[in-house]
């Protein structure tokens, strides 16, 4: 599905400046849920921007379904951390979701169908005529997810999407995301700095170490569907958590 090899990104004109991303390689399989775990300032955002084609990489390659990524690919949708800034306050919820579709060549009727379906999937049916600022933070982030879903992407890139909502809302959004991921059969690449969140959501967790390369990889064998209480009580959950904590810290991993 997605193959990243030897990605390197240096900001500015000076090629010898310290790179933000250096020697990053990994692959994501079709319909896989991969979490990328990294501390703040380790180049997560730069990496995502390179993957999505928003920022050109200095060297290396990103290949999506066999095609190299040079600009934002059609098959990809993006959910940002700051929902209040990626939703447009001058458009209603419904317009926010529908308007990227028009430029994808979707006709008006189909766009309305996709919008309704996506709103329904995130549990916001009937709120389409509100404005984003009339909704709570968690609801706004659900609108952002609905926009991504309505876009019908093969792969969904998420940049710490739940970092700025409170804990209660956050677990609700996590379950919602797992639900739509399975229903829509999409591939998800989810960036977070939260170990618990990564383990809870992912099939596989990649630990990023500065300057953004994969320092450790953990396969999460926890059964699905996952449950906020039961899953987090499993011994395997605790073990993975310890492993990832150590990996983040840069200590050798005790298997």
């Amino acid at each position: 599905m997605l193959e990243v090899s030897n990605l390197r990104k240096v900001y500015g004109p000076d090629p010898h400046a310290a790179p933000a991303v250096d020697g990053l390689s990994f692959a994501v399989a079709d319909q896989e849920f991969v979490c990328i775990l990294g501390s703040s300032g380790c180049g997560k955002t730069t990496m995502l921007r390179c993957l999505s084609g928003l920022t050109p990489a200095t060297s290396g390659s990103v290949v999506l379904r066999g095609k190299p990524v040079n600009g934002p690919p059609e098959d990809m949708a993006f959910v940002f951390q700051d929902y209040s800034r990626s939703l447009l306050p001058w458009m209603t919820v419904r317009r926010n979701i529908a308007f990227p579709l028009r430029y994808k060549g979707v006709d008006r009727r189909r766009a309305a169908e996709l919008t309704d379906e996506a709103l329904d999937a995130v549990g916001l049916a009937g709120r389409g005529d509100r404005y984003p600022w009339q909704l709570s933070g968690g609801m706004q982030q659900r609108v952002a997810i609905a926009r991504a879903l309505a876009y019908r992407p093969g792969i969904l890139l998420m940049d710490e999407p739940f970092a700025s909502v409170d804990a209660q809302t956050r677990s609700g959004l996590e379950d919602l995301l797992l639900n739509v991921w399975q229903r829509y059969g999409i591939t998800v690449l989810f960036v977070t700095h939260d170990i618990d969140e990564a383990v809870y959501l992912a099939d596989r967790v990649l630990v990023l170490r500065p300057p953004a390369n994969v320092g450790h990889e953990a396969v999460v064998g926890l059964p699905r569907p996952r449950n906020q209480v039961a899953t987090k009580q499993e011994p395997e959950f605790g073990r993975l958590r310890g492993e990832l904590y150590a990996a983040l810290d840069g200590r050798p991993v005790v298997a």
Partner: protein, 279 residues
């Protein structure tokens, strides 16, 4: 209920006192320059209902609106261009700063040479004065558009034209309107000034002409009409702005269920820097 009535009366007390005070004083003083109110009103009715509406008021309004509309189109268009391309903005900065600081009435002689004494020269002067606040505010508004909204648009492959219309322009909207509000006042002022120089009709011409022939009450009617005109146009503008920028006040949490009637007017709610005012 009675509190609101009381507040309303309080607000009207000072203007009423001023008017009555002037009326009494003018009657007693019999000043040549400050005629009594009833005399002014009698002339007002004679002149402006509706004898000179077609000959002076409408031409003035037409010039003002034409100049204002041109200023909005040019200011927003140029502002988008300069806001989006940094090299262009930097290169244009000294020229823009100079022209903005140049008092527009000083350009009236130039405009007269270029266009003659017709409407074109007046509209030109209005544009030369009113375009700057719109231009500068649009530039700032465009630069202030959230980069994440632009990323979102790019990630969803929204074409550049649609990005301008759907994201950059609405995002800059509050600033564009701030500029347009300042420019409206400037456009009215320049309408009057340009009509005071080399003109044969219009409100500015009328007021100055009455003064020169010592028709004092007539002059006063013109001044009052101009005041009413400024007030009404400003009021209409605020209505439109309120409607168009509803989302903005909502997003900033200023949209109460009922608008406070007696609080500070919206024009007071300005931060000191963001508005580039100019006249």
């Amino acid at each position: 209920m009675s509190r609101r009535v009381l507040g309303f009366l309080l607000e009207l007390a000072l203007p009423a006192a001023l008017l009555i005070g002037y009326g009494l004083w003018a009657h007693r003083a019999g000043s040549f320059y400050f005629p009594p109110l009833d005399e002014i009103f009698r002339y007002f009715r004679e002149l402006w209902l509706f004898d000179r509406v077609g000959s002076d008021l409408l031409p003035s309004l037409a010039r003002m609106l034409a100049g204002y509309a041109a200023s909005v189109v040019i200011g927003v268009g140029l502002g988008l261009l300069l806001g989006m391309y940094r090299p262009l903005r930097v290169a244009a900065e000294p020229v823009v700063e100079f022209l903005r600081a140049l008092p527009a009435p000083a350009l009236i002689p130039f405009s007269l040479l270029m266009f003659g004494a017709g409407n074109a020269s007046k509209v030109f002067v209005i544009v030369l004065g009113a375009v700057w606040p719109i231009l500068l505010n649009t530039i700032d508004g465009v630069r202030g558009v959230d980069p994440q909204a632009l990323d979102m648009a790019r990630a969803h492959r929204i074409p550049p034209g649609a990005r301008i219309v759907r994201i950059i322009l609405p995002g800059a909207g509050p600033r564009v309107f701030a500029g347009m509000r300042t420019s409206l006042a400037i456009a009215i002022i320049l309408m009057v000034v340009s009509e005071m120089v080399a003109s044969s009709n219009g409100l500015g011409y009328f007021v100055l002409e009455q003064q020169r022939s010592f028709a004092i009450p007539e002059m006063w009617t013109g001044i009052i009409l101009l005041g009413v005109l400024g007030f009404v146009l400003n009021w209409i503008f605020l209505r439109v702005e309120r409607r168009v920028l509803r989302w903005h006040r909502g997003a900033r949490g200023l949209l109460a269920e009922h608008e406070p009637a007696a609080g500070a007017p919206s024009s007071l709610k300005k931060t000191p820097t963001p508005e580039k005012s100019d006249a």
